[in-house]
Structures are given as structure tokens and as C-alpha cells.
Amino acid sequence: MAQISISPLFLTGQFFRIIGANIGSPGIFDSSLGAFQSLNSLLSKAGGGGFASAYVHFHLMKGTIPPNLSSLTTYGARSADILVNWTTSSSGGNSSMFASTIDTSSPVAINSAFVNATQTGTAEWFWWTVTDTTPTGASPLYHQAIGTVGLGGTGADMVMDSVNIVAGTSYRIVNFLVTIPSVWTY
């Protein structure tokens, strides 16, 4: 199997641009979705956007996690199951929401500000989306990722001290580690 490997220094320079917690999107104007996918980072910093408003939503979700992304085609696909919504945007959002994220080394450590839960329920999975300006239920997604949520020792992708979420209680993301691989095969 053919393999591409990236030197550590090369890879380090990519983290902050791909995650983008503390930089904005570059000022390139292109109206196609594909271009937004190219240019809007995963945690586009508020106020840093140059051409489009990338809205970042990191949702803590109840209910069964989908087996794949095929049913998550729009921003509103599972909106009824959102327990907590950490959000910012590259245009006027909360610039401090993910500012404590460390995205200059691997694994990237995602941290957030406190946000109140909007519903009570059991956290089962997370849904990380990047959408367009002021997303509605039908808005397409530039980027998305899903993973399981659980207690320590369960093998969940995101570990919590308790998965019992209470409406009105404040929660934050601390040290959610995401590794960007240095070796790719094809």
C-alpha cells in the first residue's frame, strides 16, 4: 500500500489552520460550497472571517448516534436532540468560546467556555458542524464530525465525568484531544 508521511514540522504548521480556533478564515471570496469546505476551519474564530460567516456548533446530543453521516445532511437533522450547544462564528460570534483551544501541536486539545444546557437528558454522542450564515434547519454543512460520548473506561470518543445533563446547568469542553495523522495510505 502506497504511503505518504508528513514531517513533524510540516504537520505542526497545519494544525492551527485546520482547527483555526485562534485565526480567521482567509479573505478569499468564492460562492461555492466546495470553496467553503476548503477555507473555513473547524473552529473558525469570531471576527476573523474574510468572506463568509462560518458558524461553528459543537453539540452534545442525546439519542442514538447515527452509524454514519448519511442522515446528517442539514443543520436541523437532529436539532431536537441537542442538549448543549457550544457555538461561535467567524463573523460576530463569541470570540472566547474556543479561545483556550491548543491547536499548535498534536493532539489538538479543544477547550471551550461554559454554556448552559438547553435540555435535560443523557449525553450519547457529539455532533460538530460548520455551517453557513445564521444556519436554519435546512442549511447545508461545510464540515461535520460525530463521535460517541461516555464515562471513562467505556471507550467513548469523548469522555465525561457524568453523562446526565441537566437543563440550565453550565458545561464546558476540557482537553478534548483530536489527533491529526502524519501518515496516510492509499
Binding site: I4, S5, I18, A145
Partner: protein
């Protein structure tokens, strides 16, 4: 479960990862940054192997075959599912006999003198496969067998998103 990312992430990595590192800040076109490409025979190492031990990979090594300069990368549109050589480097003369199997793509203008030196020329590079035209190399030659003293040109240089 493993975290599932949308395929759009590949596009993001291609643009804000690879192309920006190669000097193309956004959108599309060809970079104005001259990069260099060193061609080797033998087993392909990891990039981390090259970083931790440069001496087996200098141009004095019998596995070192060719060194190209002034290669520029780009992509034709902002949604193209690949990056490719937009400006091909001129021919390079083989310094050893052998079949090219892997390459170092330097993200800056690394000279022949640099790769002859005892110090790693730059810490910013990727290690990729090399093949003939029908193989699956990122860098392709026609053919990929080289004879000392003979000049050769790169036939194709494509890093597709399916390979990223």
C-alpha cells in the same frame, strides 16, 4: 467508535494544510514558492525517520538518484480534488543508478549542496511514493529507472485528495 469526519475535511486539509504550506494562501492557481524534489531508490522511510537520522539520505548515499529544483504546486480551481505540479522543474542528472521508489518533496528551495550536507536541509517536507506512469506514485517518471550521468524529467506530480 472512531470519530467520523465528513469527506469535506479532505478538501480542508488539501487547501489549508498542504497548499498553504506550499505557499498558496487560498483559492486556486499555482504557488509562487519554488520547492525541491529529491528522488531515491530502496525502501520508503517515514518522514520521522528522515528527521531523526539524515545521514543515510544525503546525496552521497547510493540510494540518492536525482534532485529537482524550482517545482511549483497548485490546483486549477478551489474545489479541485487534487494538487499537482503547476510548474515542472527542469531536467536533473542522475548521480547514481537505480529505480526511483520514493521522494522527498521539500516545501522550500533546497539545493543540491543542501542535500549533500551533513545537516537535514529543512524540517518541512513530505515523503511520497515514486513510480512509472502506470504506478501509484505521487511523482511519476517514464520510466522510473535511472542511469548515472543521464538527465531525466518528471512526467507527472499529483497529490490527489483520495491519497491525502
Amino acid at each position: 467508535m472512531t470519530i467520523l469526519f465528513s469527506s469535506s475535511l479532505v478538501n480542508l486539509v488539501a487547501q489549508r494544510g498542504l497548499l498553504e504550506t506550499f505557499g498558496l494562501g487560498g483559492g486556486f492557481g499555482t504557488t509562487s514558492t519554488n520547492t525541491s524534489i529529491s528522488i531515491y531508490s530502496g525502501a520508503q522511510p517515514l518522514a520521522s525517520d528522515v528527521v531523526t537520522g539524515w545521514s543515510p539520505y544525503t546525496s552521497a548515499s547510493p540510494d540518492f538518484l536525482l534532485h529537482f529544483m524550482n517545482a511549483r504546486w497548485g490546483r486549477p480551481t478551489s474545489t479541485s480534488p487534487f494538487i499537482s505540479l503547476g510548474v515542472f522543474p527542469g531536467p536533473a542528472t542522475a548521480v547514481h543508478d537505480g529505480a526511483g521508489t520514493w521522494a522527498i518533496i521539500w516545501t522550500s528551495a533546497i539545493t543540491a549542496a543542501n542535500v549533500a550536507g551533513a545537516t537535514l536541509p529543512s524540517g518541512t517536507f513530505i515523503v511520497v511514493p515514486v513510480s512509472d506512469l502506470v504506478g501509484n506514485g505521487v511523482i511519476k517518471f517514464n520510466p522510473n529507472a535511472f542511469t548515472t550521468g543521464t538527465p531525466y524529467s518528471i512526467a507527472e506530480g499529483v497529490l490527489g485528495v483520495a491519497a491525502i
